[in-house]
Subunit: 325 residues, 2 copies
């Protein structure tokens, strides 16, 4: 049994707990939380809830620590800290800061002689892998990534910070015409506006100025100004009823040519009812790989690019070749 | 430079030659043929054409031998033979015989202390990888593979063997309704007939009995009897003009659930103008990986499941993390 610790018990941590329950070769040993442990209820019988300050006492009882903090402020501190003491895995997703995070985690992992796996999930993660595979196969080609339809937490938060907004949910939606154009193999150059639209469901506070809110959203730099954005004002009840989920997904497409001029399209897509639960499912498969690489003596920071696919599966090489090759 | 040899110069061998021309870190050293070498013209300046009997004399000048024979009778002999003397890669695609082929190649590769990579292409190959990744991520789920729209060489050949047939081309076509049902997440059980249809374009010899031919096709066991099959009789000119290509493609879909009951769909698809050219592109990327694994001292037979994705790319780990993660 691979003994797993979960460090941080929000949406992602709960997803990891669920995913462990679907994998017979893994067991959840403990959940570590910043909250008072007695206030946190988990679903796994026999697993403990401990304060994060007690994590280092559990060094010998945990094979892989799954770190479920946020990328903005938690992971840049937590992963380097924990990589010195545990084999670790995280879902660090601030793309621009991955090289820096990698260096920091790598130093700690080497110091502690552990295996550390960063930026695991679907983007970064499975989407990155598909960009990489497709680019290696079709060097003469072009990559396209579309996201959605799905809820963007960051954009929903940005709307909630506007004066007069009580609650909000934002969907990122790929533009069908753009997708079709890419799939045709014409290798179009697409602007931000041509690739995605944004749809916002907003609950206004009583007496709030709706046209002010709508204008604030539509003109918000970086978040909305470069997109065709639709704003719907709805009641809190309707938001709770129809927009409670956190679905997501997207498309990675590479359109390329062989030397004869023949065209080839490689497409990978995800349609997810729950973004954090799927991310957690990817992480748990890679936790298995992290454990195996650690058992082999691998030291330092790794990413999905470094992991032989077979390491993700509980099946033997023989079973994989017979059943799936 | 990675020095490549091509063993067998048919559609696949020519595709490998094209793919090498798109990769700056590789060079084609020699093509080996069963035909008189002087009768074979290749497109790469500086590369030699040699008889297959001269292959072993080139041991020290070739880093990876790409074996481009057929799976029925060539590869079961060629790959074990050559793996003793070279690092090799093949596209062995008789799924049921992969375990046996693996064992034979493994023994030879170990004897010669070489790296051998088998069953590389898109199915087996990229489709296998996607079945494996998706199954490891969503252990509670179901796999579906659809092929087409594309030309099946084996089925086209089978039609050509019928009395009165001068030429023929067969397309395998996935049934859209079945694809849509799978994508809905309903995990349907689908019969052979429900998943694919077969469309045949047949050139009859003068005076041939068309209804006899049509009946022979539609009732042919294994090949057509279990499918809804359409037969069109056309002229040789029309066949040459409209059906000269060898396009193919398909879909690998896994539909699964996380422990909460939330559904997730993972889909990988290919749309290929040329089946052999795309297969060759995959093989050449894996030839790079084979070379790297050989340089590290890897010995024995490997499959796509064993290869860290980064080994396929000419980019460094640092570049991959920065640009694609």
């Amino acid at each position: 049994m691979i003994r797993i610790g979960i460090y941080g018990y929000g949406n992602l941590g709960r997803g990891v707990e669920m995913a462990i329950s679907q994998n017979d070769d893994m067991e959840l040993v403990a959940v570590f939380t910043r909250r008072p442990p007695e206030s946190v209820k988990i679903n796994t019988k026999g697993a403990r809830v401990l304060h994060i300050d007690d994590a280092l006492n559990m060094k010998d009882e945990i094979d892989v620590m799954v770190i479920c903090g946020g990328s903005a402020t938690d992971l840049p501190v937590q992963t380097p800290f924990l990589a010195e003491h545990f084999n670790v895995i995280d879902s660090f997703d601030t793309h621009a800061k991955i090289p820096e995070h990698f260096e920091n985690v790598n130093k700690s992992a080497i110091k502690g002689a552990h295996t550390a796996m960063i930026s695991v999930g679907w983007d970064p993660g499975m989407f990155s892998l598909n960009r990489m595979y497709a680019g290696a196969i079709l060097p003469n080609g072009k990559d396209y990534t579309f996201w959605g339809k799905g809820v963007s937490q960051g954009h929903s938060d940005a709307i909630r910070r506007i004066e007069g907004v009580a609650d909000a949910k934002q969907y990122t939606i790929p533009v069908k015409e753009a997708l079709d154009e890419v799939r045709s193999g014409s290798n179009p150059t697409l602007t931000t506006r041509q690739k995605h639209t944004r749809e916002c469901f907003v609950v206004a506070k009583e007496g709030a100025d709706l046209s002010y809110i709508e204008n604030e959203i539509k003109t918000m730099p970086n978040y909305f100004a470069d997109y065709d954005t639709t704003v719907h004002f709805i009641s809190q009840e309707e938001l709770n009823e129809k927009h409670a989920g956190i679905p997501h997904g997207g498309f990675v497409i590479r359109s390329g040519e062989s030397a004869s001029g023949n065209k080839h399209i490689i497409e990978y897509s995800l349609k997810l009812d729950s973004n954090p639960e799927f991310t957690a499912s990817v992480i748990v498969a890679y936790a298995r790989a992290t454990y195996r690489m650690a058992c082999e003596g691998t030291v330092g920071c790794k990413s999905v690019f470094d992991v032989p696919p077979a390491y993700l599966s509980p099946k033997s090489g023989e079973e994989l070749r017979k059943e799936l090759l």
